[in-house]
Each structure stands twice: as C-alpha cells, then as structure tokens.
C-alpha cells in the first residue's frame, strides 16, 4: 500500500514541472512561434532561484530574480526571433545550450560542483491539507506538495479560460492561424507573439523553481534532464489544447514515477518504463495525423 501511495505522490511530483512547461508552451505554439527554449528557461529559473537564495538567504528575492532573468531570456528569444525574424528553432537551441554553459561557468568560478542549501528545509515548504491527507488514495495526490504544485493545477483552469474565453486568447490563436488576416484586422501581431513567449518564460521559471528550490533545495547542472523537450512533445500530441496536452504531461509523470518506484524490484529494466511515454506519443502523433490526412486525395506536399 505504501508503494502505491508513493507512486501516486511521485506522479504528481514528476508531472508538475512538465505541466508548467506545457502551459507555458501552448500559447507560443498557438501563436505559431515554436518555443523550444523551454528547457533552457526552466534551467535558468532553477539556477537563479538557488543561486540567489544561496547568496542572500531570502526566498522571495530569489523567486523574483528567477522570474526576471527568465523573462530576460524570453525577451532575447522574442527580439531575435520575432523582431529579428530569425529561425526560432535555432534560437531555442542556442538558449538551451547557453544557459547550462553560464550555470557551469558561474559554478566553476565559485568553485562549487553544485549548490545545496543547508538552511532551507524542504519539508517546511510542503503544505499538508488537514482533512484530506488521511484519506487513503486521495491523500498522497492532494496533500503534502509544495506551493507551486498547487499553483500549477489551478493554472490549468486559468490558462484554459485565458485561451478560450478571453479576447487575448482568441487574438493569440488568430495570429498563429493566419497572420496576414490578423494584420488586416489591425491586430498588433508582434505584441501577441511577445506576450505568448513571455507567458512561456514565466511558467518555465516557476517550473525551474519548483524543481530546484522547492523540492530539493539544491542545484546540479542539467537537472532539468530533457523535461522541456518532453513538454514540447506533449504540446504537439495535444495540438496545443491545454487539457489534452496536460494529460500527456501527466502520462510522463506516471511513467517516471513507475520507473523510480519499481527500480527496487526490476533493477535496470525499470528504466525501460521511461521509454513507454515516448513510444505512446509517437504512435498517437502518427495515428492522429493519419486520420487527418486519410481523406486528402489531392497529390501534393505541404510543410506545416
């Protein structure tokens, strides 16, 4: 039973940063600016939040600094990619490479292998919900998580409403679907693209803070371990719809949690659980696209 509880708890635990990245990425996806810098932005949030806590000892300042630096990366991305009309995939890769490089550089300069905070206790950040924590199955799901985890699940509802029920969301989608007609309607397309990227960077910063400060109060380089790319895959499978994409993100959480918890029993083979979501996603992508293009009889080729 304890194993089962652990699996449930870890599912939420491992899903959170991916869900945050997904929420951040969907707006950029819908605005037709593919933001593959999610990974780098998340690492930037993780690194700056820990570094600033280490230097100042104040968590609010650290969170603020992490948000600001990550927004700065968002700005770099937007200026080069939207205003400068550069190739966004290449810019994203560049950010993904440069953030760990800077983190490494600073760590080497400070002569540290990694930063681990002694005076911040992780268990104090967890919020236990009084009544629910004792219910068997629901307990580990809803109770005992750090604040950003709760924020994330509220965020799913918030971003769904923002995308489908507000003017902002509609405009972002119009810009992505047909930029020319958006311009003809007098929509400032660049503004909406910038905004979409910025939402992404804020969410990624939170994901990074969740990953490093809240959960382990330590930073090691490359601790994001490809979560940003997983989020991109989830966004593609869910075609940018918030709830569907989040479900794919949770799929990864489940797989990760299974592989962590079962590794005691299965040995190295437990690592194969990590492969399952990738394979499921490729299959889903293939089937969805096949259904979509099955009835197209015209010979032709289109790049999306």
């Amino acid at each position: 039973m304890e194993l089962f509880d652990n699996i449930l708890y870890d599912t939420v635990y491992h899903s959170t940063p991916i869900i945050l990245c997904v929420l951040g990425g969907i707006f950029a996806y819908k605005a037709n600016v593919l933001n593959i810098a999610l990974e780098g932005m998340m690492l930037s949030g993780a690194f700056v939040s820990i570094l600033v806590t280490y230097l100042t000892g104040s968590i609010p300042i650290a969170v603020l600094a992490a948000l600001l630096t990550t927004i700065l990366w968002g700005a770099v991305f937007s200026v080069l990619g939207i205003t400068g009309k550069g190739n966004v995939i290449v810019i994203g890769l560049g950010i993904n490479l440069i953030v760990p490089a800077i983190a490494d550089f600073v760590l080497k300069r400070m002569e540290l292998a990694n930063i681990s905070l002694q005076n911040v206790s992780v268990s104090r950040m967890k919020i236990n919900i009084p009544f629910f924590q004792d219910i068997p199955i629901i307990g580990p799901i809803v109770s005992g998580h750090p604040p950003i985890t709760y924020l994330t699940f509220l965020g799913i509802a918030f971003f769904t409403i923002l995308m489908y029920r507000t003017k902002f969301g509609v405009y972002v989608r119009v810009v992505g679907e047909n930029e020319d007609s958006a311009i003809s309607l007098g929509i400032r397309t660049n503004f909406y693209k910038y905004a979409a990227v910025m939402i992404g960077s804020v969410c990624c910063a939170l994901a990074g803070i969740n990953l490093s400060l809240e959960r382990m109060s330590m930073f090691t380089n490359n601790m994001t371990a490809g979560r940003g790319f997983i989020a991109i895959a989830a966004i593609y499978c869910g075609q940018g719809r918030p709830v569907t994409s989040v479900l794919y993100a949770i799929l990864f959480g489940i797989a990760r949690s299974l592989s962590v918890n079962l590794s005691v029993y299965a040995g190295p083979a437990a690592g194969l659980f990590d492969m399952i979501p990738y394979i499921i996603m490729v299959t889903v992508l293939a089937v969805v696209s096949y259904m979509k293009y099955k009835n197209v009889k015209v010979r032709g080729f289109k790049l999306e």
Binding site: V76, G86, I89, G94, R109, Y236, G271, G300, F301
Partner: protein, 354 residues
C-alpha cells in the same frame, strides 16, 4: 559575379556572428578580471598553431564534421532531423558491440562490419520519422526529439543490464578488439578515421553540388509545394534524405567509438553531445560540405583550446561553451540576406562618384 556575391554574403553571415560572440565573450572575461586577448591567444595558439594541437583538433573535428553534414543535408531541404544525437549514439553503441563480440578477424573487414552495423542502425532510427513524415505528415522534429530520449534510455538499459562489462569498475560495455581500433598517428590522437571523413566529404560534395538529388534538395528546401508541382516526389526524397542523414550520423558514432572511446559509457557523447554540436556546425557552415568541414575544424579547435585555457589561465573553460551558445543565437538571425543588397548600394555610390 552573382556567384561571387552569394559566396561573400554567406561568408559574412557566418563570420559576423562568430566575431560578435567573441566580443561578448571577451567582455565576460574582462568582467571577471582577466585579459581576453591573452585567453583567446592561448585558445587559438594551442589548438591551431602547434603540430600536435592541430592534429588533435583534426581528430575531434572528424565526428563533428559527420554529424554536421548529417544535419546540413536535411536542413538544406527544410527537414529538421533533430535525431542526429540519437542516431549517432545508436551507431556508436552497435559499432562497439560488433567490435567487442565479433570473433577476431582481418582488421579492415572488422572495421567495415562495425561501420556497416552503425550505418544500418542509424538508418533504421531515421526511417521511423521519415516514413511518418512522408506518409502521415507527422512533424519530424517532434518525433526525432522524442526518439532521441527513447534511444538514450534504451542504450542506458542495455549498457547497465545486458552488455555490461562486469570487470570494469563503472558502467560500460566491453572494450572493442584491437582489430576494430584505429591506430593513432605518432603522439597525436589523429587516426585514419579523419582520412575516411575526407573521402565522405568528396562524395557528399559531388552529391550535393553535382547530382540530380542535390538539385532536388535545394529545390525542396526553397519551396516544397513547387517542387512537388514540377514533378519531384517530395515524400520519397525526404525518406532518402533522412536515410543519408541517419547513415552519416551512425558513421560519426562508429568513428568516435573506434578512434577515441573504444567502449560505450553513459558519457559516450560528451556534453552537450556530438549531435547537438553538429547542429551548430551545420548552421555555421552554411549547409555546404566544405563550409561544414571548416566549421567543424573551427569548433574542434575551440574544444581542444578550451582545455588549454583551463591549464594556463584562471578563466573557467566553460567560457567556450558560452561563446558557442552565443554563436548559435547570432547565427539564427541573418544579418545580411540576398535582398538587403548591401554591396549593390556601395557600388551605386561608387558609380555615381565616378
């Protein structure tokens, strides 16, 4: 004349980002209180202007050139094969397995089998996104990105579980046989593998510049719908391209295995990975084989030089990774394109003066 101008634009578009990145990197070095000229001097001198250093640089350039080429081939046709890293790992792993478990035999034949195994596995990986792209119109970038991680996990499992060399103190596959290893030239790390990459360069140059396929690649890259309309089978061409790309990546992995690593470890492809480095090299080289070779040598020089920086100055060698990242960022933006016509404007002014 027009050809000339194109070349100049291409060179400027590649060189300008590098210069900008070095200037910014220099500012960072200044900020931590070191002399940037001295640091850059050591970086270049140790990797390009000593015989041993230069030969080591060429050694590191060989696999990078192949991964760069693998990406350049697909990028030129506007197909994004982000799976080069995974294909390279697969190739390297299976070349290593073949090299370790095959019975001892003629060393040329042995190397040939290792390379063949690597190419086949690289191509199998590339075939999945290619077929999905051609038949179901699935975004190849997402598929290759995901398969990268799937491959990484699979190889991790195979290395720690099935093929683990229990006599080694850490997680690794058995060392390959002597017959599969490339001999080093003298005291440097350079091996015959570099010569093989030069042969591949010649073949790829002919394919990309002189063959029908090369022309079609360019056409598809410029406008796939038009290419289809004039009768090119774009989907078939994409599969061919991905297969070439996969084979090249596999070769890169096999070469790296047989000339440097000799066994598969979890850190086989150094951080951030030969495949990802290949992406920068392809961009820097402007997608042409010769450009990619120059870019690979430049990049490898940064790599070998960065170790000297660590040894002779107090600047952390990670400064080189920062510069590399900056180069990518600046490369994404084309400062001068064919429409800007910067040179034409100069010429007009000159004419008017005359």
């Amino acid at each position: 004349m027009k050809q000339n101008k194109k070349l100049i634009t291409a060179v400027i578009n590649s060189v300008l980002p590098v210069i900008l990145a070095f200037i910014l990197g220099g500012l960072i070095i200044l900020a931590i209180g070191e002399n940037p000229f001295e640091t850059y001097g050591i970086l270049i001198q140790k990797s390009l202007f000593t015989v041993k250093g230069f030969m080591n640089t060429l050694h590191y350039a060989a696999p990078l050139f192949l991964t760069g080429l693998a990406i350049a081939v697909t990028f030129k046709a506007n197909v994004y094969n982000m799976g080069v890293e995974g294909q390279m790992l697969l190739g390297g792993f299976f070349a290593g397995i073949a090299g370790a478990y095959l019975p001892a035999m003629n060393s040329v034949l042995m190397k040939f089998i290792c390379f063949a195994a690597a190419m086949i596995f690289g191509m199998v990986f590339a075939l999945i996104p290619a077929v999905l792209k051609a038949k179901c119109n699935v975004n190849e970038m997402v598929v290759t990105l995901m398969l990268n991680y799937a491959v990484l996990k699979l190889l991790e499992y195979l290395t720690t579980g099935v093929f683990r060399d229990t006599s080694a103190g850490y997680v690794a596959t058995p060392t390959i046989r002597d017959g599969a290893m490339f001999r080093r030239f003298g005291s440097s790390r350079l091996t015959m593998f570099f010569v093989i990459t030069i042969l591949i360069l010649i073949v790829m140059y002919l394919i990309m510049n002189k063959s029908k396929l090369g022309y079609e690649i360019t056409a598809i890259g410029k406008n796939p719908e038009f290419a289809e309309a004039v009768g090119m089978r774009v989907s078939k061409k994409i599969i061919t391209l991905m297969l070439i790309s996969g084979a090249l990546s596999g070769l890169a992995g096999a070469g790296w295995m047989m000339s440097d690593q000799f066994k598969y470890t979890l850190g086989f492809s150094t951080n951030p990975g030969l495949g990802w480095d290949g992406m920068l090299i392809a961009l820097l080289g402007g997608h042409s084989p010769i450009g990619v070779l120059i870019a690979a040598i430049f990049y490898a020089a940064l790599k070998t030089g960065s170790d000297s920086i660590n040894m002779y100055t107090s600047v952390p060698k990670e400064i080189v990774s920062i510069i590399q990242g900056l180069i990518i960022l600046f490369l994404a933006v084309r400062f001068i394109n064919n429409n800007t016509q910067l040179f034409d404007r100069f010429k007009k002014v000159k004419k008017e003066e005359a």
